[in-house]
Amino acid sequence: MIEVEQLAKRYAGGRGRADVVAVAGASWRATDGRITALLGANGAGKTTTLRLVAGLVAPDAGAVHIDGIDVAAQPVAARARLGLLGDARGLYPRLTARENIVYFGRLHGLAPAAAAARAQVLARQLGFAALLDRRCEGYSQGERMKTALARALVHDPANVVLDEPTNGLDVVATRALREVLRRLRDETGKCVVISTHVMQEVERLADEVVVMAAGRTVACGSVAALRAQAGEADFEAAFVRLAYGGAQPVAGAGA
């Protein structure tokens, strides 16, 4: 379970430029056995929120708890319960997929044999077992994505956070990924959080939606509940109403 309370983060603008407010009061809760989607336009503060959740960036205000552990107070313990597929998902090109995954398994405290076994299991589950011993330099976007996801799941975390996971994937890879996320929810009861700006993605996958705009959480609930709340039959229209108060956003309005 991931609980986010009143998070705020601003980046110093430096040399006469104004500070950039990335997150200004985000509060939500993602429970186990459900897929929670952070929905917002580009620049709504989704990536920064997820970085704050993983403890990669220190918040200016607010707190994050992962399974009850305060990320700011015990970052190492909190990270051990979290699998992160961030915005940056670079692999080591000169290592094979197996070596990449085992390396992170070892850094998550797994014994060499356990890490190797996990790499094998994950590669089979995600469907890239044939690639395991090839170096990553020639991988396609989808293959890289799968390897990075396996790397994030190597320690079998109870909480999984994915930042725009379908970015750059083709239809087949996207459907496969959705299937993987559903299995994570249904078979192992994990708490899955994804961020996205694709409505279709949310409608098909999310049990719970957190709508973000200009660094704030503006609405929470299931897709149906949000449609009802906005009084719109179309989810896209409901999102626009919730995020921007009905008016189409002026370009650049979302910070």
Partner: protein, 392 residues
């Protein structure tokens, strides 16, 4: 907890070493540029020195119009010099460095003018841009001075004057520098090249483990692992230091076969370089390898790309490699303050090893302490950069 952190350090170091080992192109470039260049330069320099030695002993002179000066030819031959006719376009050849000796030009009326007591003019043609010819010109001028002196002495004797009257004092030049000492100048190059191997060895590995990590987007997942940044930094630093130290060892050892190829006897006699010296070099360079690795990581971790990091890390290379050069060109010899500067200190101490001088405990303890302090400061800076909000 401590045990787990140690395991993480080992894991990171092992992965970075594997990564560096697989980067064959960089590996070969570093090996070629840092390890092979040293012996190569040594051999080239020794060939040059051997050439100079040979020329210093050569008793040959190239003259245009020697047929006009039979007396001068006789003088040269009495000194067991061999007289050759000069090539017609010697001025151009000298300018182009095509010939390595000066040319003497004798005018047609030389013998007659000499007989009349008119002091005929001979031209000693050389070029300041031609070091080999310049070296020969000084010796040829001395020979001509000898002929001049002989002629003058004869004229005085004919007039019944004692030649001794003309010599109020006598000068006996004595050059205490010998060929071995000139060769010693060249052996000072050795530490410089071993130092370069350390620098270039650390450079590639340090950039890849820091700025490279950020550039390819693998730093964020790494920091999301439940490990203290210190463990990650220590693992990376150990790997970079190991690469730099391995190159130091290889380059120190590569001078062993290198010296078999020495063409100059004086240099070969001067260069006391065996397995013991090679190992002493390696031990002296270890702390420097550690400090340079940490310093380069500290510089590179702030860069967003390897290219950007390369620009700044080149500064470290420049400073550390330039300091020993300053000492090499400096006229004052060894100074106590030199042991305070990393790079320069190691180069000075390696010079002592080459000269067979003993190293006092304080001599190697001071550079070791300086390197240790530098390492600590640089590693602390890397940890701070990873811990802080340097991630965007």
């Amino acid at each position: 907890m401590i045990g787990a952190a140690f395991a993480a350090v080992r894991t990171v170091a092992g992965k970075e070493l594997l990564d560096a080992w697989r980067d064959r192109r960089t590996l070969w470039t570093v090996l070629a540029s840092a390890v092979a260049v040293g012996p190569l330069v040594l051999v080239l320099l020794s060939a040059l020195l051997a050439d100079l030695e040979q020329r210093a002993q050569a008793r040959e002179v190239w003259v245009q119009g020697i047929e006009h000066a039979p007396g001068l030819r006789n003088f040269f031959e009495r000194q067991t010099w061999v007289v050759h006719p000069a090539p017609a376009d010697h001025e151009r050849l000298l300018r182009d460095n095509a010939i390595g000796h000066p040319v003497l030009v004798v005018p047609p009326d030389f013998e007659a003018a000499l007989a009349r007591g008119e002091a005929p003019v001979v031209e000693l043609v050389s070029s300041a841009g031609n070091p080999r010819a310049e070296a020969g010109a000084a010796r040829l001028a001395q020979m001509l001075h000898g002929y001049n002196h002989e002629q003058a002495t004869l004229r005085l004797a004919v007039r019944g004057v004692s030649p001794a009257l003309l010599e109020a004092l006598r000068v006996q030049p004595r050059d205490v520098a010998d060929a071995a000492q000139r060769a010693a100048q060249l052996t000072l190059m050795l530490p410089f090249f071993v130092l370069l191997a350390v620098l270039y060895g650390a450079l590639a590995a340090a950039l890849d483990t820091t700025a490279g990590e950020r550039e390819r987007g693998s730093l964020e997942p790494l920091l999301a692992c439940p490990q203290p940044p210190l463990a990650l930094v220590l693992g990376k630093w150990l790997a970079v230091t190991a690469v730099a130290a391995a190159l130091a060892l290889l380059s120190a050892l590569s001078f062993l076969p290198g010296q078999w190829l020495l063409a100059s006897e004086a240099l070969a006699a001067m260069l006391h370089y065996g397995l013991g010296e090679a190992l002493a070099f390696f031990v002296l360079l270890l702390p420097l390898a550690a400090a340079v690795a940490a310093a380069m990581m500290a510089v590179a971790i702030r860069s967003r790309s390897v290219k950007e990091a390369q620009t700044t890390a080149t500064l470290v290379v420049l400073v550390v490699s330039l300091l020993p050069m300053l000492a090499l060109f400096g006229q004052r010899g060894e100074q106590p303050w030199q042991l305070w500067l990393p790079g320069l200190a190691q180069s000075v101490l390696m010079g002592r090893v080459l000269r067979g001088q003993a190293l006092e405990t304080t001599d190697w303890l001071l550079p070791l302490a300086v390197c240790a302090l530098l390492t600590l400061l640089a590693l602390a800076a890397v940890v701070r950069a990873l811990r802080g909000a340097a991630l965007r």
